[in-house]
């Protein structure tokens, strides 16, 4: 029988898989975001996504055999963030991180375990896009609220200098790798044996 899956074009099944794993990913992400009500966790959120959501993401990667799937999932993350009020900035950011993640996994021919773990490190960086508005428009924000007093504004600025954003990116990457490694372990321990992977 001629298979319609030979081409590199994404078929219905691939698109459904993207949707399903995006849903699992986001349900976990939303559960974690509840802890973000405590400000310190807000900063750690992208790293937590890396560790926890890395587990279903690793399973998702076993379904990825064609270019585009990781990229689309990343864009969906950005769009959902846009729709939940995180400004438009996460969209272009998730496009960039999505392309990088796609290229990394592609370099391993969509099958290498090493590339998969590395992809797990890069993918959750989309969540750092949520922090962008906090960094980009700060000056303007405080300029309008001079009533708060200059020293407070300065203190807040000192606590969140621009290089902090890159620290967050690196932290997310490291945690993403950890999530990927945990995911790899669970893949062997459960999903492969259960016949899901």
């Amino acid at each position: 029988m001629n298979k319609q899956t030979n081409s590199n074009r994404l078929n219905g099944r691939d698109l459904i898989n993207i949707g399903i794993y995006s849903a699992i990913y986001l349900v976990l992400a939303i559960a974690l975001a509840m802890t973000g009500l405590i400000p310190i966790f807000l900063i750690l959120l992208s790293s937590m996504y890396g560790i926890i959501c890395g587990i279903p993401f690793m399973l998702f990667l076993t379904k990825v055999k064609k270019p585009g799937m990781i990229f689309i999932m990343s864009v969906i993350m950005g769009v959902v963030m846009f729709a939940t009020g995180m400004t438009w900035m996460p969209i272009p950011f998730s496009v960039v991180t999505g392309i990088i993640a796609e290229i990394v996994y592609r370099s391993g021919n969509y099958s290498s375990m090493k590339a998969a773990v590395l992809t797990c490190g890069i993918f959750p960086m989309w969540a750092c896009g949520n922090y962008l508005p906090l960094f980009v428009q700060r000056e303007q924000y405080f300029a309008e609220r001079a009533s708060y007093g200059q020293e407070y504004a300065d203190a807040v600025m000192r606590m969140t200098p621009n290089w902090m954003f890159f620290v967050l990116l690196i932290m997310t990457f490291v945690c993403g790798i950890m999530g990927g490694l945990i995911g790899k372990k669970l893949l062997k321990k459960h999903f492969v044996k259960a016949g899901i992977a």
Partner: protein, 481 residues
């Protein structure tokens, strides 16, 4: 006309076992064929070959030829069958793509790019033919299993296929919903569609079938014509390892049981146990009420008595809150109801420690990486010796090291039972334990329960399965809103 010519098939995932062996079968247009046989006999595989899920979705090796209306289907892909062949699947929860019913009905036609006006008029026809006006424009997640299955059938009907395949469509349905499904199949039959039904639960469609094909280990072992099957008896069915043909509602069983019990009472004048008097060792329930957040009251039991060391079946109409009752009883759903056991009072938190529930979907209660571990974590104190003993009791010794999720539905059910035994809880709840089981597996479950009763465990089961009730339940409680 569907023709199978010497078809062999082996799944890539399971290379040791041939799923279909040398199948040659011709099905005439407008014929209604019931395919049956034990689990894993190949009846579902046959349907998957027809609707194109093999090879699009499941990989494997096929030899032989299949023709539909004279065309070799190996030259076709899954999308060529859309609109010609419709498939209804087993699990009502997983076969809808949309969230609302109206979009779900239109879904297939939209994919076929049929003009909107045409879709709407077709939908109107289907809605009135299936009498589902009340189900339109609803959230599918809020429908019962039976209603979901109706929507699944309707969404197929809108596409107007000539061939309809049903893959264990009643596995998750209760008596009433299965009767509704029967009406739908009858409606299709009258429209002259070719219908193939793969089922264990044969009673609700038996007299609709023009032909019954029995599979075993991938082979067609019997092929009966209409006149042969119309005179079939339950004894004959048992000989072919088939489930009972009796179409009897659980309520009727309850009635029959009560009658029999009363007769016996008259004869031997046994100690009376009328509605109100109760023995001290019985389990007594009081004030079990439950309302959803929406304010809808689903549960209202003021008083109930359940005999110790016996199996009690709870039967009742769809949506009467039977599952909710079990969840409240075992304590995972908090409510104010009280339970007395040996004169001691248990609230919902305390009940968690003495009651074990086997859920309808055993997938939800399997956590570990091996069957043995699963039993071990259920024990109050881990004891491998005892765990292995329990596994042999439920006939799973050979599977001790397998991942629970990789087992078949019946095996998962038995793993959950093994955990229940291991938990040493005196009371066991089961929610539709025989859904989707063939005769052999159903009898196994009944046998295990009979053993447990002898060991003094009390069993309470929600079920629609009259054959199962006959085999192992002592009491039947009819439960309504």
């Amino acid at each position: 006309m569907i023709q199978f010519e010497k078809v062999n098939f082996t799944y890539t995932a399971n290379p040791e076992e041939m799923s279909l062996r040398n199948i040659s079968l011709a099905i005439k247009d407008g014929e209604c064929v019931l395919l049956t046989g034990p689990s894993g006999c190949g009846k579902s595989t046959l349907l998957r070959l027809l609707n194109g899920l093999i090879p699009e979705f499941y990989d494997g090796d096929m030899t032989g030829k299949i023709f539909i209306d004279g065309t070799d289907i190996s030259e076709k892909g899954i999308y060529d069958f859309v609109g010609k062949i419709g498939t209804v699947f087993q699990n009502p929860r997983s076969q809808f793509f949309n969230v609302d019913t109206t979009s779900e009905l239109a879904f297939g036609c939209e994919n076929m790019a049929i003009p909107e006006a045409e879709i709407l008029s077709r939908m109107e026809g289907t809605v009135s033919a299936f009498r589902i006006e009340k189900l339109m424009d609803r959230n599918i997640f809020e429908l019962s299993g039976g209603e979901k299955q109706k929507i699944a059938c309707a969404s197929i009907h809108v596409l107007g296929p000539d061939i309809i395949l049903l893959d264990e469509p009643s596995a998750n349905l209760d008596y009433e919903a299965a009767e509704n499904l029967r009406q739908i199949i009858q409606c299709w039959k009258e429209e002259g569609k070719t219908i193939l039904i793969a089922e264990h639960r044969i009673n609700y469609v038996w007299d609709l079938a023009d032909r019954v094909v029995i599979f075993e280990a991938g082979r067609v072992v019997h092929d009966f014509e209409k006149k042969e099957i119309s005179s079939f008896t339950d004894e004959q069915c048992r000989g072919y390892k088939l489930r009972s043909l009796k179409r009897i509602s659980p309520q009727e069983i309850a009635f029959e049981k009560r009658n029999r019990a009363e007769n016996r009472k008259k004869n031997i004048n046994a100690e009376g146990r009328e509605g109100n008097d109760f023995r001290k060792e019985d389990i007594r329930l009081e004030g079990f009420t439950y309302a959803y957040k929406s304010g809808e009251n689903v549960l209202n039991i003021r008083k109930m008595q359940i005999k110790r060391a016996k199996a009690t079946a709870i039967v009742g109409a769809n949506g009467a809150g039977k599952t909710t009752f079990l969840e409240c009883l075992c304590g995972i759903r908090k409510n104010k109801g009280k339970m007395w056991l040996d004169g001691k009072e248990y609230d919902s938190k305390a009940r968690l420690k003495v009651i074990f529930m086997v859920m309808q979907d055993p997938n939800h209660q399997l956590f570990t990486e091996s069957v043995l571990d699963e039993v071990l974590i259920s024990m109050p104190e881990e004891n491998e010796e005892r765990a292995k003993q329990i596994l042999s009791q439920v006939d799973l010794s050979d599977f001790a090291d397998r991942h629970p999720m990789s087992l078949s539905g019946g095996q998962k059910q038995r793993v959950a039972l093994a955990c229940a035994i291991a938990s040493e809880c005196p009371i066991l709840l089961l929610d539709e334990p025989t859904s989707g089981l063939d005769l052999t597996h159903m009898l196994e479950v009944a046998e295990i329960l009979n053993q447990l009763k002898k060991q003094g465990r009390t069993i309470i089961t929600v079920t629609h399965d009259s054959e199962f009730i006959e085999k192992c339940c002592d009491e039947v409680i009819v439960y309504g809103k």
